[in-house]
Symmetry: C2
Subunit: 253 residues, 2 copies
């Protein structure tokens, strides 16, 4: 199985794509440019960010973006595909920290430390925008909008990590996972009611702190109750209301 552990985030590699040369169309799905535009960042500022980014990919399912202990040099925005971040404890059990969709940023939890504190792996075909952290931090000193955006991204992840930390039931956690995915996909222009899961049941289980068998049982129960339809990894949400109600306590809305 090929991985990039010897070349995590290669500075230059055959996979680093050429710049597309259009600052205005620059990574419209990227977490940075969208927010920077919102912040009123001007065209020149976007150009500064533009010359900083390195497009990496495509990476294929199973390839690692970085591994725990790799020296930290860069954060990255997912441009396409899904990235799973996870830890393996001494007993060999995997703990999934999160699934990262296009527009979301990985590596933020590595800023405090010399090395990445977790692994990141592609679940399907992944494209990334890589930002050298020292460089983007320096740029952030000149661009208040960029600095503010970085602060917000970091702050958001603190809250996100706390959400699933509560002691919710298996049904609540599963509903929160599905509704959360649905909303994030919808925000990126995909159908909120019908989508493909890119991760295995075991990954969902390790993310929700459940046994894989429990994931199967909960999904079957939700299907038998007519709330959703699931076939392999294809999900259709049939009754949003009760699912939202289950998820509401977890997602706090």
């Amino acid at each position: 199985m090929g991985d990039l552990s010897n070349l995590p985030f290669p500075r230059q590699s055959p996979r680093t794509l050429a710049d597309d040369g259009d600052a205005l169309k620059f990574c419209t799905t990227c977490a940075f440019s969208q927010a920077c535009l919102d912040e009123g960042m001007d065209k020149a500022a976007l150009m500064d960010l533009h010359v900083l980014v390195e497009h990496v990919g495509p990476l294929h399912a199973g390839e690692h973006i970085f591994r725990e202990g790799d020296p930290f040099e860069a954060i990255a925005a997912v441009r396409a595909g899904t990235v799973k971040t996870y830890l393996v404890d001494r007993d060999g059990h995997e703990h999934v920290l999160g699934f990262h969709l296009p527009g979301e940023v990985i590596g933020l939890n590595a800023i405090d430390g010399e090395t990445y504190p977790c692994n990141a792996v592609a679940l399907d075909t992944v494209m990334l925008c890589r930002f050298s952290f020292p460089k983007i931090a320096t740029l952030a000193s000149r661009l208040p909008g960029l600095q503010r955006q970085l602060f917000r991204l970091l702050s958001r992840d603190i809250g996100r990590a706390a959400l699933l930390a509560g002691d919710w039931s298996a049904d609540q956690r599963m509903a929160a996972f599905l509704i959360g995915m649905s909303r994030r996909l919808a925000a990126r222009g995909f159908s909120p009611d019908r989508f493909q899961l890119t991760m295995a049941r075991t990954d969902i289980a390790n993310y929700l702190r459940l046994a894989p068998e429990t994931v199967s049982r909960v999904l079957k129960r939700l299907q038998d109750d007519g709330l959703l339809r699931i076939d392999r990894r294809e999900v259709e949400l049939l009754e949003r209301k009760p699912l939202e109600a289950l998820a509401a306590a977890v997602l706090r809305d």
Copy 2:
């Protein structure tokens, strides 16, 4: 019961202490100055930070520093005492996000948003150093060391929130809590083996996602096994090794 919900973080109040006028002795227990010195921040830079800080307190046990929904304006470093941050869900159950000791910073999870996403309350007599966030962010643009420190503090909290999110046993969680407190207190010059808990059993339970009865039972079992001695809120760690072993899986060391 007096609280500051109408005046969360008062800009000027009778409780705001006068500046002590000594930049070199400025808040030696504070998370900022220590790290800033480490970063090689010079005396002039420290002075800039110095004029920005507002000393707030003392606050007494039960008084709130901010409440969920209060407009976000400032972060704060704990200078003395213990602060509990928590949420209350729709069923009235309290979820404790963390206990914050001197030198630790609260309010970082509010940066992404217009309001504080949680409550913060003093567990004993608390002194704070308050920093207007817009002002410290502006200053961070001029002081790379300060910007770096803010990034690190935010990043650290992401990792911290993920630690207790795992599906650990009650014993492991309790050991991790006690060892964690011990280490943090030791880093501040207190005894690592004998200390006072400033929070109620219920608070510990809501932090560890356990029932208060379970907290009692686990503590009693650990005491019966001779690993520690606990009398009311005074703890003495008798056998560190097995406690560290229990906590190791959670704390990842």
